[in-house]
Symmetry: C2
Subunit: 569 residues, 2 copies
């Protein structure tokens, strides 16, 4: 089976025709502007690198995987060479500030790069995937002394970085972390403890690795407010090795190209990053960007699965399709069978709407940072806060379930490893868990971002979406959904959850359905926008658009009914 | 993680309290009767065998798997010993006729046995799973000479059997089969060709293997009517080896304990089974039973996943749950978190309703064979024909998606192999494909079994279900669904698909939604029955019942809306 091939024309159509991203970014007072030609050029160059260098390594990444021996991790064949070429070509620094060695390009081009990389080779992409978060963290919180040594190395990706958060007893609940940080006479701290699920905790891709570690200072209060953030490299500036050991790597369902490490810290000398007790704040600074990237992994993996299924459906013949074109005694291509058509068009509906939402969110990230008007920056912050958890949860969910649907197109062959489709099902499953489980995204959206401000942010966002819908027949349908939802929030959700008799767990019982309903509304908006874009009246877009309204959108009403019943119970 | 433990009290509750299976079977004029004590005894004995002998081999079955070398297949550690103990204890022959060496017990006890076996060790269970179909096939179609050599060996399971249907170009479309059968002077036929996806085509579990092979006689017409069925053993009666070779085994996503073989036939001398050109008929004799068993695999695998998630949720503490009971500064058990509760209760809703439907179907299989009244036998045939494809499709779908939901309960640990939950996700995926893909089940239900008789069989079945509902509040809800559905069939589906202007592919575009809507109705019936059963007013049943109505049933209205829109388009 051929490796993944980026289709940059599809991506450019959404960036330029649907979203007018170049025009939006040119209004910004910053380096992060990019005209259409530059966007096109970066997309094509990155697509070329992904297709030629990264995609061909995906099978070995899965079959051979990362190997642990005596504390060292050997990456799969070709991974180191590809990574060295990647950072030397400047890709990790695409969106970093020029003063840190970056190119200052807009976040949306980093988004499209990582979508393609994830589609091509999810395991390999985990390594640079954490860089940008570490870069932002060091840039905003580290001392000048630390920055001098680490900022440019991490910005350019010459050194890779980790985020050491989870412990055996502290998964979703970081407040339970026990790793200790004891002050040393030289101003540093000795870290002791064990961290698990550390992606890229050890490997041979780069000459050094920079660990960002959550730990607890002596006499700090229990819970999340007692946590501080520390930096400890694999090798110090003098070349000596730190007391950080990779004890083993996990045997996983998939993602074998990324070593998931158990890291032991034995009084490892580390520097504090930011203020004592503010460790979680320092890490959460990059949470929206990191969650957007996981959403993009979902979109990329679903695109990769769709490409495989689409190619197979155009080659494989089985049975006559109703209204098919096969000659007497012959079989039709399976893409002509309605059951196969349904799978392909429905996944396409998710991928295209996902791109519209994810690229728009990336543009809003730049607007939030660089727009001259405070009010527009505020609206962009609101967009990112509300849309990001939906992208993360709904599109990683769809990556797994949609990849499984694409596997079904292959029949029994889909279950066999050589076709590569089952790898996507296995690899994609982890994205529903990491960077905050999808259930936690739903709680974030409903409790922290909707109920906390009595719905004003979300309702404001929905009004803004409504204003961009136009007056097409689809727009009327999307508008009816927005209106039904806003009425539900005002008349049922807010009074129902505030009522004195409401059970304490009522919001959490609603959260998953609430997030799904919002996902449907965002997709309805996206498909309305695509549907009225000049050039989208072709078969390429129409099958997916029809599949959205027929096969996906009906979930909206189902989720509303489930929430109505939960509130009535 | 502890291996699967059968919970026979739950199973017995459904058999006896909900379905009155012993009473139903005692009305039959056959050997297949069983009173409550006998049922209880068989359930407990089989549960003991499953728990003690089969379940502990599951991890090695996955991690080590079946190994191919030079045409021979070595099964995972312990598999042969367990299988020898299994057949010698008489388990494969449980429901076979006494004159063939069987015990003549009812099909429903075979159903519960295979549900438990699949839950404990799906890979191992594939080997005996094919026996009963081969037994029925030989019993009804083979010559007396063949029966004398093979029938009792297959009935008792002393020799295992295969079904050699699929070829590289003939998956769902068996009519494309090319394997040739050329008459030999001695009345036998020389088989030549390659078959793929042959479960247990080669192994070391038994001393001989009996292959049932679809092949094409010279001058036979193209398509399915040109296929005949043949029997060829691994070893002939004189001890010589047949020209049947296992060329390789597939590397698969899961089910590593079952070798999926590529079998090459090099002029292998074989006997015809049944009449020339009637090969598919001979195999389809056992299709309902085989598909019911795959549905039971789905139920068993989902039960296994649920047990793991439930046990983990009762041990793991993370964060305060709303309304939780943890002391200040401590975390609650995750089973107290609504997101986890929702997953566990929803899967329980599927498992319990699945058991009601599957056990009832097994009882109907016995009624169809042995009831003294032709009209009751006819109704039982109708039940099996209509309910079986729904069980196969909806419950294998739920096994995979529900096992994935159970994995989510573990957070990151669910993605790690040592917990065993990801194995269930991988293993269960194949059941959506084999024994007729789930899409083919949907086409079978709608086109062959509903539209072909203008809905009379299905509407008759729904009337019969309605009559068994009673008058509880849930019954009214289920009845409203049945009525909505019957109206849809009469007023929209039948006229819409018969209309001259209807597109040829319209029924196939409706098929998946149609099957899901029927699945919801069957579950509504099952939960209404459970809900009004004395003894089901405990927490064990109430959480799942509530989850059904709140979390599962709303899909019914969504599917109806999707079909309405498809017909209106």
């Amino acid at each position: 089976m051929n490796p993944f091939q980026p289709r940059t024309d599809d991506m450019m159509f959404i960036l330029q025709q649907v979203l007018q991203a170049p025009q939006q970014l040119q209004a910004l007072a910053s380096d992060t502007e990019a005209d259409t030609d530059l966007m096109q050029q970066v997309l094509e160059e990155s697509g070329k690198f992904v297709a030629e260098v990264v995609a061909p390594l995906n099978r070995d990444g899965d079959e051979i995987g990362a190997q642990w021996k005596d504390g060292a991790v050997t990456m799969p064949p070709g991974f180191r060479e590809a990574y060295q070429a990647f950072w030397q070509a400047g890709w990790p620094a695409l969106a970093c500030a020029p003063e840190d060695g970056g190119q200052g390009l807009p976040a949306v081009l980093e988004a499209t790069l990582y979508e393609m990389l994830s589609a091509a080779n999810h395991g390999w992409t985990m390594a640079p995937g954490l860089l940008h978060g570490a870069y932002e963290c060091i840039r905003h919180h580290a001392s000048d002394e630390l920055k001098a040594t680490y900022l440019e190395k991490v910005a350019t990706g010459e050194w890779l970085a980790t985020m050491c958060l989870t412990e055996p007893h502290a998964g979703s609940d970081l407040g339970l972390c026990r790793t200790k940080a004891v002050p040393l006479p030289d101003g540093r701290h000795a870290l002791s403890g064990t961290k698990i699920f550390i992606s890229g905790g050890e490997h041979d891709l780069t000459d050094n690795i920079v660990h960002l570690v959550l730990a607890r200072l002596p006499d700090s209060p229990p819970g999340p407010k007692g946590l501080s953030l520390f930096l400890v490299p694999k090798f110090y500036a003098d070349g000596s090795r730190s007391a950080v050991v990779c004890e083993r790597i996990e045997e996983k369902m998939g993602l074998h190209g990324s070593p998931t490490c158990v890291m032991r810290f034995d009084e490892a000398a580390a520097w504090i990053v930011g203020e004592p007790g503010k460790g979680l704040n320092a890490m959460f600074v990059m949470m929206n960007a990191a969650r957007l990237h996981v959403g993009l992994q979902g979109i990329g993996l679903l695109e990769a699965a769709w490409q495989k299924a689409d190619a197979y459906a155009k080659e494989r013949r089985q049975m006559r399709a109703p209204g098919g074109s096969a000659k007497a005694g012959e079989a039709d291509l399976i893409e002509q069978h309605p059951a196969v058509r349904r799978i392909l068009d429905t996944q396409r509906a998710w991928i295209d709407a996902g791109r519209v939402m994810a690229y728009r969110t990336a543009v809003e990230l730049d607007i939030a940072r660089h727009h001259p008007e405070p009010q527009r920056r505020e609206a962009a912050h609101r967009w990112c806060a509300l849309v990001t958890p939906v992208l993360k949860a709904a599109w990683t969910d769809q990556a797994f379930h949609g990849a499984s649907a694409c596997l079904q197109v292959f029949g029994g062959h889909g279950y066999v490893r050589e076709w590569g489709i089952e790898q996507i099902v296995r690899d994609s499953r982890v994205a529903m868990i990491y960077e905050g489980t999808n259930e936690i995204q739903a709680i974030d959206l409903l409790l922290r971002k909707t109920l906390a401000d009595a719905g004003s942010g979300l309702l404001g966002l929905l009004d803004a979406l409504d204003a961009e819908l136009g007056e097409s027949p689809q727009a009327l349908r999307a508008r009816a959904g927005l209106s039904r939802f806003a009425g539900f929030v005002r008349e049922r959700l807010l009074p129902g959850t505030r009522s004195d008799s409401a059970a304490a767990d009522l919001p959490q019982r609603l959260a998953d359905d609430f997030l799904r309903a919002v996902a449907m509304l965002l997709m309805a908006w996206a498909w309305t926008r695509i549907g009225t874009t000049p050039g989208a009246d072709t078969a390429r877009w129409q099958g997916a658009r029809a599949a959205f309204w027929l096969r996906v959108w009906p979930e909206f009403e189902m989720r509303m009914a489930m929430m109505d019943e939960t509130l009535a119970a």
